[in-house]
Symmetry: C2
């Protein structure tokens, strides 16, 4: 069978990226825990994997919510296969995938939360119910049915994949301590806006902060509260670079000012 590899293997190899020509200051990046929290913040439904009677992993659809301490909660029917499975063996995982968008499904962010499912105690029921309904308002039609019970996933391992080539195991400690990136809900539209309406500013940022003063073009690939990931064209080939905001964006309303300040600095240093 296949052996472990650590890089994709394109037929004939691939072009090496251009190297920076100047020193590049290290930039802060979101931790895996922050990535996972950001992804979960907008999610309402997971693929629940349980173990069937024969020990096969069994996938099913499971709406979920998240209570204050980060624990995912389910509300499942005694009529459902996954409930039979969990009552037999509580080991499970929840796979949560970003909302689909055009393009390759493997480019979508996703996270797998692996752990053990327990019944929510009577003391925890109100919080679980509120969290579940906050994410899934339609649940009001069934959460109080006699055959439904709230369950919590005690998370033991977390695997995050941010798309092609971005992936990490996330510790439970990191996940517990992290918060969702406040810029995430607008990140895609902010990236499009920067690339469409501020191409000259993006190029200035790329030249000054990513070590490619000879850049001929640059586009923002991703944006988070800490800065911008850029794809930079140079006469020496293409490169990925990163430019940090002066300080992390604490609220989505500060994103515009942070981008303006970064551009101002780039123009001053150019």
């Amino acid at each position: 069978m296949t052996t472990k590899v650590t890089n994709h293997q394109p037929p004939g190899g691939g072009a090496a990226p251009a190297r920076p020509l100047t020193d590049v200051a290290p930039t802060r990046q979101a931790t895996p825990g922050e990535e996972v929290r950001s992804l979960l913040a907008g999610a309402t439904t997971a693929a629940l994997a349980t173990l069937d009677e024969g020990g096969h992993p069994f996938g099913s659809v499971a709406p979920f919510g998240i209570v204050a301490d980060g624990t995912p909660v389910l509300c499942i029917s005694g009529m459902a296969e996954h409930t039979y499975n969990l009552d037999r063996d509580p080991r499970a995982s929840l796979l949560v995938v970003e909302a689909p968008r055009p393009g390759d499904p493997l480019a979508l962010g996703r996270v797998t939360l692996v752990g053990t499912v327990e019944l929510v105690s009577e003391a925890g029921r109100d919080e679980a119910r509120a969290a579940y309904l906050a994410a899934n308002p339609g649940g009001i039609g069934y959460v109080d049915f006699g055959d439904f019970t709230f369950r919590r996933l005690v998370v033991e391992r977390i695997r995050w994949v941010g798309g092609f080539g971005r992936m990490a195991w996330c510790t439970v400690e990191d996940y517990n301590a992290a918060e969702a990136d406040p810029t995430r809900p607008v990140a895609a539209s902010a990236v499009a806006h920067l690339n469409t309406d501020h191409a000259a500013a993006v190029l200035a940022i790329a030249r000054v902060f990513t070590g490619h003063p000879d850049a001929t073009a640059a586009v923002v690939d991703r944006l988070d509260r800490y800065g911008l990931d850029l794809v930079v064209d140079t006469p020496r080939g293409q490169a990925m670079g990163r430019a940090a905001f002066v300080k992390p964006v604490a609220h989505v309303d500060e994103l515009r000012a942070a981008s303006v300040e970064l551009t101002r600095r780039a123009r001053k240093l150019a």
Copy 2:
């Protein structure tokens, strides 16, 4: 823990549906195998569940295709967790869910194909590659990378859920013999068209074919190649009913004529 129940248990019970007043001829319905084939025909990506090192079920994103005999094929990287898992234990399932639409996620159709994953043989590689790329054209960017291999899921059990209250185990024999419903790709828009533009015809059909001659209103809930599922209002309460087309729709282009013929018959028999 919970015990098996066979009906949802609304608090205080629910209203009983109105019973037909006249004899209703039995109508043909899609088999679970046909439902599964119809659902898979439009799908490109599954949630793959595998077993991790500790024996927990582990969910991941897996684009897939289907070869001529109905076997799902994957193309997975030696760098991915699910590949490590499958090389250790080949038991797996694929969960495929209908494209999201507004409303409750539990109303979406889905299927879980449970089985064992094998490497595709050299003889089967061309067919697997073509089927995978037909569903996932973006795969051209990686299918020939040295770290990717094609795998096939030998299906052993199939669980279908068509939405609230519609679910069945599907035998492998039924799945193998079934074909996708040709009306499925247009079913939702055809239902909307019938309800919006042909309400009087729908009411006539409901009165004549569902055993509720006193119906005051009716809407089409679902449509398939064999007929219409209707929600019928009567002075005695609401009921679900079904009206069969005169013959099964063999091609999507015949759907309009089948609906017109059904309406004509209803008006003649009224």
